[in-house]
């Protein structure tokens, strides 16, 4: 793969990551948001695939396939299953911040990410490290979704967006952090999502619905 194609492919996949993150902020139907999240999983796997092809690393290609299965297959499937159990009328997010303000916030977060990641790019300038701000933007957008959404499922999506962003940064900075750690991290994320999904179900059993506004038992 020539250097120019490599850079272009990196830009395309990172653009995909950023675009899907913004789409999550834009759309309100949870079913659509989950599909967008799956698309982001594909973009993330493609990003790792491009890095793998550039470095001709079989191990990284394997990781890319694993990511595709986990982020674009298993996790969206789990989310869909949780959504299917939710009653009608629970299938839209209820953001605390309206869509226009959310999109504006995304723009501000992107600028912030570019400002913060200056030293990260400066340490080892290369096409891959120049894309770090995109990963950081996805992390920040995920955090924003996490704190401004009230439905349990949309908070879960926010957490997973953060995680996608962190994984992207992991592969853009260096070729990952070792296979063992990579596996452990993936397993932990999968288990955390499973735990949250079980808790969503329990919340529905005890509260009747999974709206975090209902969580007001514990306070000081």
């Amino acid at each position: 793969m020539s250097e120019a194609t490599y850079t272009q492919l990196l830009d395309v996949t990172c653009g995909g990551l950023l675009f899907t993150a913004v789409l999550v902020l834009w759309r309100k139907e949870l079913a659509v948001i989950i599909r967008v999240f799956a698309a982001q999983g594909v973009a993330l796997a493609a990003l790792v695939g491009v890095v793998a092809a550039h470095e001709r690393s079989a191990e990284l290609s394997g990781v890319a396939v694993g990511l595709l299965v986990l982020r674009a297959g298993v996790l969206p499937w789990l989310l869909h299953r949780a959504l299917a159990k939710a009653g009608p009328g629970r299938r839209e997010t209820r953001p605390l911040v309206n869509v226009a303000a959310s999109l504006l916030a995304a723009a501000v977060l992107t600028l912030l990410a570019y400002a913060v990641s200056q030293p990260l790019v400066a340490l080892a300038p290369s096409p891959a490290t120049h894309a770090i701000p995109v990963g950081l933007t996805v992390v920040l957008v995920g955090f924003f979704v996490l704190v401004t959404r009230r439905r349990a499922l949309s908070q879960l999506v926010g957490f997973l967006l953060m995680d996608n962003g962190i994984t992207a940064i992991g592969f853009l900075t260096t070729a990952g952090i070792g296979l063992l750690v990579e596996l452990g991290v993936s397993l932990d994320v999968l288990l955390a999502v499973l735990v949250l999904q079980i808790l969503t179900t329990r919340m529905r059993e005890t509260f009747g619905e999974a709206d975090l506004d209902e969580l007001r038992e514990l306070h000081d």
Binding site: L123, V139, F159, T174, V185, L199, L218, D220
Partner: protein, 493 residues
């Protein structure tokens, strides 16, 4: 032999968890939990003795590495775990008698507690920041089920908050880990995430990248340690979890997360100078102390009261870490042990109070001293230990932190912290005396005899307090271990 010794604190609880999976909860298996904790403690003490004579030991191809600091943390884990698991059979059988649990949930509880112990032991004995991260996140996943065990509205709410906030905090720590790895790859040594390698090559790390990484790591692991600003999960989770789990979470899990902060601090100080982490930690420490003091004064729930006191003590540890220096660090480590024991005793007693009175409010528990003198004595002495009265070890460690703080450049922060500690002590004494003294409430059920505290639980509580007092009078054989652990944290060989 070394491999076996280093592996034991992780492997023994795993085997015990498998035993609960296979045999369930029955009289024959009720004490496996405590036996496993005792083995962890024994292995910890043996490896502490070995480390003292021969220096750090590694096993499993460099995956596990136990130095004096890890050995000390293993001892704390073993001691508090032994305390909590010795009181567990009595707690669980009372729950089963009251129809709040079944043998199935009791078996699941014991299984998860053992997995929790294994994860904590792995966290402190891993040689690699990545493995430490995996182990700390694993503790979140395992304990989520324990927090939500009762399946009531409030328990599920606490579990949800706990997983979301801790996983988010820990995700920040993962980002920090990745960035630190990035900085480390671009040094001559390319040590990756290995602790020893990172410390050795710390002065060549890129300062810009390391600064971002360290801030993320300290805030991320700080969330798990219950330090402000990401502390909101702690009072809910600690008040909703079953008593032995609260004892373990408050007594050791917070300290295990704080251990990660200490390890990061060693690298950060070598790479960036002491100023950066010092500022960060002082802000977090004072914020935690102010928060704990303001919410403790009007607290009405006694388990939440104990939870806020944990935030206070984590704040004190963060202050000690900010001060740095051998005296402050040795005092901080002693504080970890003293707080773990005292808080363990208190949470176990609180669980017993909840079981016998059914009230979680402070005003619902009046005249405990008249009705259950032994339990009331444990609570009373536990609170005295917690607020740092001699002869308990918290007194010695708080004195050490204060002396080191006043001698360093952080005099104003130390004075402020001491004032807040006094305010908190006054609040704790007021609330506790309202629970212990006074006439027992009249009303339906007041006339029935209160079931006696089972011997096993009573022994655990009294021995816990005695050890806490004993360590306060003399650290004995722990002195050398504390000293060498403190040198590791201060980064001076």
């Amino acid at each position: 032999m070394t491999t076996l010794l280093l592996l034991a604190p992780v492997a023994v609880p795993m085997l015990a968890a498998l035993a609960y999976l296979a045999f369930g909860w029955r009289p024959a298996t009720a004490w496996i939990s405590a036996a496993s904790a005792a083995l962890v403690l024994a292995a910890a003490i043996t490896s502490a003795a070995e480390v003292a004579t021969t220096g750090p030991r590694t096993a499993l191809g460099g995956l596990l590495r136990v130095d004096a600091l890890s050995a000390f943390m293993l001892i704390v884990i073993g001691a508090v775990a032994l305390l909590a698991t010795a009181a567990t059979p009595a707690h669980l059988s009372a729950e089963i008698d009251a129809d709040r649990a079944t043998p199935r949930t009791a078996a699941r509880h014991s299984l998860l507690v053992q997995a929790f112990l294994a994860a904590m032991a792995l966290a402190v004995s891993s040689a690699d920041l990545g493995v430490l991260w995996i182990a700390v996140e694993a503790t979140t996943i395992v304990t989520a089920f324990l927090v939500g065990q009762r399946r009531t509205r409030s328990a599920v709410e606490a579990a949800w908050k706990y997983v979301v906030i801790c996983s988010t905090g820990i995700a920040l720590a993962l980002l920090g880990t990745i960035l630190l790895n990035y900085a480390s790859q671009h040094t001559a040594a390319a040590a990756g995430l290995d602790w020893a390698g990172l410390v050795a090559s710390a002065h060549t790390l890129d300062p810009g990248v390391t600064r971002i990484a360290v801030a993320l790591l300290v805030i991320g692991f700080g969330a798990k340690a219950g330090l402000a600003p990401l502390h909101a999960w702690l009072p809910d989770a600690h008040s909703q979890a079953p008593a032995p789990v609260s004892a373990l979470m408050s007594g050791v899990l917070l300290s295990v997360a704080f251990y990660a902060v200490l390890r990061v601090k060693v690298i950060a100080d070598a790479a960036l100078g002491a100023g950066f982490t010092r500022t960060l930690l002082v802000i977090m420490a004072l914020a935690s102390l102010v928060l704990a003091a303001s919410l403790l004064m009007a607290q009405r729930d006694y388990k939440r009261m104990l939870a806020y006191s944990s935030i206070e003590h984590m704040g004190l540890l963060a202050l000690a870490a900010a001060v740095g220096g051998p005296l402050a660090m040795a005092a901080a480590l002693l504080h970890v042990l003293g707080h773990g024991l005292a808080k363990g005793v208190l949470f176990l007693s609180a669980g017993r109070i909840l079981q016998t009175t059914g009230a979680s409010r402070i005003e619902g528990v009046r005249g405990l001293a008249a009705r259950q003198p032994l339990l009331a004595g444990c609570v009373g002495f536990g609170v005295l230990a917690l607020i740092g009265l001699p002869p308990f070890s918290v007194f010695a460690s708080e004195l050490g932190i204060a002396r080191a703080g006043l001698a360093s450049g952080l005099g104003w922060a130390t004075v402020l912290a001491l004032i807040l500690v006094l305010v908190i002590a006054a609040a704790l004494i007021t609330h506790t005396s309202r629970m212990l003294l006074g006439t027992p409430p009249d009303g339906p059920g007041a006339a029935t005899a209160v079931p006696r505290l089972p011997v096993s639980a009573a022994t655990a509580l009294v021995v816990g307090l005695l050890v806490c007092a004993g360590v306060g009078i003399t650290t004995g054989p722990l002195t050398d271990l504390l000293r060498s652990a403190a040198t590791i944290v201060t980064g001076t060989p």
